[in-house]
């Protein structure tokens, strides 16, 4: 088995140490480790983190291979420092049967860039009416534990209640895309000062908050856990904070873009800023950062949503919603959370690896960087600053809102069970 010695890496941002990988496992962590028989990676003060885990990725395969495939999406993930991604169910066909989730799972295994854990649909065809065979998806080779109709809200209170109850039998979790459908008919952007001026249909904060409030109460009533996808408003933070203080088993995620961007950008009418839930206000952004720092929001998830060029090179109303995010997530988190002093690198590891792995039960991921653990690791050059160039993305799609924006940090190496998937910023 091959050995790799990572020399002088700041493990979780601490003092420089050496980390010896032997095969798929971390053999030793310490100072002055012997390089004998090992390939040496000089970390030179870069930060070493456990491989990142994304609980919210759209890989688009099957059905929309023009925007992303499992291969291109997992290459993008490896580029961004991820060793596991959870693939959302809104594919064509929808991942609402054991057959589809097994296909996606198998493709991830075959390509070997990043573990792919499929998310199963809560309802058949994401239609919100009839529960999908959640148990069959769990029992399948894919071993699905996270269920979501993401892109659509499970808005029927009874269906949501049943799903929350049903998955308890095998320790699953329902991840809710919180969007009250009637309040968001024709919605194009955050409802507020900017939408009033631009004449674009409003997506009010209350449409998210009212569903979250209902679902945490439902989770409490039936004694289930619930996960809230891409929480985006200050009001949602308050509701989740209240629910946690009450002992309700709720976890929540925030996307990198909601930590950085605001609806002021929509004034350009450039659909690269069109996303669901929409970009909110400065006040929301600051509340989300604070909530991620204090633990009210548990994790960062990318909601990586690739779209082909023509779906963004058009007028706002005609454009698709969503942004790619796997290859810029860590940089945005460094910009908004680390460089602002809100989080340490250990805090980043907790929110981008440990907790998401725990919520999604991704075995072998989000583990401590210590001897005997699986060698899922990410090395980050935190001193780097550079502008984002989508031409260099591994993703098949380029719909990033950060083109030309200067951001800090660059992932230089990623290891998946000891195998390098990214070396010096280049995919293997």
């Amino acid at each position: 088995m091959s050995k790799t010695l990572i020399r002088g890496a700041k493990v979780l941002g601490g003092e420089p140490q050496d980390v010896l990988i032997d095969g798929g496992t971390i053999a030793e962590v310490g100072t002055g480790l012997s390089a004998e028989g090992a390939e040496v990676v000089e970390a030179g003060g870069k930060v070493l983190l456990p491989g990142l885990v994304d609980l919210h990725t759209h890989l688009r395969e099957p059905g929309r291979e023009d925007s992303e495939t499992v291969l291109t999406g997992t290459r993008a993930a490896a580029s961004g420092g991820y060793t596991a991604v959870f693939a959302m169910a809104n594919t064509f066909p929808v991942a609402d049967t054991a057959g589809v989730v097994e296909q996606v799972y198998r493709l991830g295994q075959e390509h070997g860039y990043c573990d792919v854990q499929p998310i199963g649909a809560v309802t058949v065809g994401l239609e919100g009416r009839k529960l999908a065979e959640l148990g069959a998806m769990h029992e399948s080779a894919a071993g699905v534990t996270v269920f979501s109709d993401d892109g659509k809200c499970v808005d029927d209170a009874v269906i949501m209640r049943r799903a929350l109850e049903y998955v308890k039998a095998f320790g699953g979790v329902v991840a809710q895309h919180a969007q009250e459908p009637r309040l968001t008919e024709g919605a194009q952007m955050n409802e507020g000062v900017v939408s009033a001026e631009l004449g674009l249909g409003g997506w009010p904060a209350v449409a998210e908050e009212s569903i979250i409030a209902r679902d945490v109460l439902l989770a409490e009533h039936v004694g289930s856990r619930v996960h809230i996808c891409h929480l985006s408003t200050a009001g949602s933070v308050e509701i989740v904070r209240w629910a946690k203080s009450r002992g309700i088993d709720v976890t929540a995620e925030v996307t990198p873009h909601h930590l950085l961007l605001t609806d002021e950008l929509v004034r350009t009418y450039n659909p690269v800023y069109k996303v669901n839930p929409p970009l909110r206000t400065e006040r929301d952004v600051l509340a989300l950062r604070e909530a991620l720092a204090d633990g009210t929001i548990d994790i960062v998830a990318t909601d990586h949503a690739p779209h082909p060029h023509e779906d963004k090179d058009c007028e706002w109303a005609a454009a698709a919603m969503g942004m790619v995010g796997l290859e810029t997530a860590l940089s945005v988190v460094q910009e908004t959370m680390v460089d602002t002093g809100l989080l340490t690198w250990a805090g980043v590891a907790e929110r981008m690896s440990v907790k998401p792995a725990e919520i999604g039960q991704a075995k072998g991921h989000g583990r401590p960087v210590s001897a005997g653990e699986p060698a899922n690791l990410t090395l980050v050059d935190t001193a780097y600053r550079g502008s984002v160039d989508p031409a260099g993305f591994a993703s098949r799609s380029r719909n990033t809102p950060y083109e030309g924006r200067e951001l800090p940090g660059r992932v230089t190496h990623t290891w998946l069970r000891g195998k390098a998937t990214l070396v010096d910023g280049k995919l293997t």
Partner: protein, 325 residues
């Protein structure tokens, strides 16, 4: 002046006054036996209409022809657009045919802005109404009508609408006319009050440079001009108001209400009117109502805009002014 006219908010006070003054010059052309100027000879203007709007399209077309431009009318219905062609491809196709300016009407807010700023084409872009965003030439023709009536045709030259009290009534939420008027009237120094049921006022209106009232009767005696907006009957199906009758009772303009306006005050409407809904026939047909004048002024304003964006520095009209009657 900028290269494009996308939003009334982009106009400075001096830009707007220049357009109004130029429109007065253009209006005099309409009094001539031959209503035509050679200004845009050899220039091609396309009227690119993705939404049906016969009156706006005809108004632009009349303006373009009076300036001797070559005019192409493009209606999205029955064209390649209905077969799925994108805005970008349509615009680039037209530009390849040598178009100097694109007058665009589109159902999507921001479509003219995208056309002007995405590097798709080089032509001048004039917004003829986009979604619920802006309709700047409508605001300009409204301001032109107000200045003539409230300040004077000749007396108004070089002047704005300083201190005039303008009330805009109706479906503000879905109205590009209201948005454009609030921006332009504020720039021209007028005091604007919006009156509507709270359901038809956008969340976020508090930052607009105007007042908002839910009580039409309280505002009417303090208005120099009252602009009634069209209210589509379908809105009541989406619970914006209970019934047509209740809307008319609370926010419609009838003879009794008109009598509460100051004597000099005018009634305006961008058209098309829904008689019996926001305005009664008695008001619509009264001589205080400027609807027909607004249509005539629309041609002058659009001539002025086309001339100033495309025509360069030559004077538009060389003869001396006719005196005000």
């Amino acid at each position: 002046m900028q290269r494009h006219l996308i939003s009334a908010a982009d106009l400075t006070r001096d830009d707007a006054v220049l357009i109004l003054d130029t429109a007065e010059e253009m209006a005099r052309v309409a009094d001539r036996p031959i209503k035509k100027l050679p200004t845009l000879r050899g220039r091609t203007v396309v009227n690119l209409f993705f939404e049906d709007s016969t009156r706006t399209r005809i108004s632009f077309e009349a303006a373009e022809k009076r300036l001797s431009a070559d005019v192409i009318n493009f209606s999205a219905k029955g064209s390649s657009v209905s077969k799925g062609e994108s805005l970008k491809d349509t615009a680039q196709t037209l530009e390849a045919m040598g178009v100097d300016a694109v007058v665009i009407r589109h159902g999507a807010s921001g479509a003219p802005y995208r056309l002007a700023t995405s590097g798709w084409i080089d032509a001048h872009v004039i917004n003829a109404g986009d979604g619920t965003h802006q309709h700047p030439t409508q605001a300009l023709l409204d301001a032109f009508t107000m200045r003539r009536r409230l300040v004077g045709r000749d007396a108004g030259l070089g002047r704005d609408l300083d201190g005039r009290r303008i009330t805009i009534v109706g479906d503000v939420l879905h109205s590009r006319v209201a948005r454009s008027n609030v921006d332009l009237l504020h720039t021209l120094g007028a005091e604007v009050t919006l009156v509507a049921p709270p359901t038809l006022v956008p969340v976020g209106v508090e930052t607009w440079p105007c007042e908002v009232s839910y009580d039409l009767d309280a505002v009417l005696p303090k208005s120099d001009a009252v602009m009634m907006l069209r209210v589509q009957r379908e809105r009541m199906n989406a619970a914006f108001f209970p019934t047509e009758r209740e809307y008319s009772r609370r926010y419609g303009l009838d003879g009794d209400r008109m009598a509460r306006m100051p004597e000099h005050a005018i009634v305006m409407h961008p058209g098309p009117m829904v008689r019996g809904m926001e305005i009664t026939a008695e008001v619509a047909d009264s001589d205080r109502c400027t609807v027909v004048e607004q249509v005539a002024n629309g041609v002058s304003i659009r001539m002025a805009v086309l001339y100033l964006l495309l025509g360069g520095n030559e004077p538009a009209v060389t003869h001396t002014r006719t005196e005000e009657k």
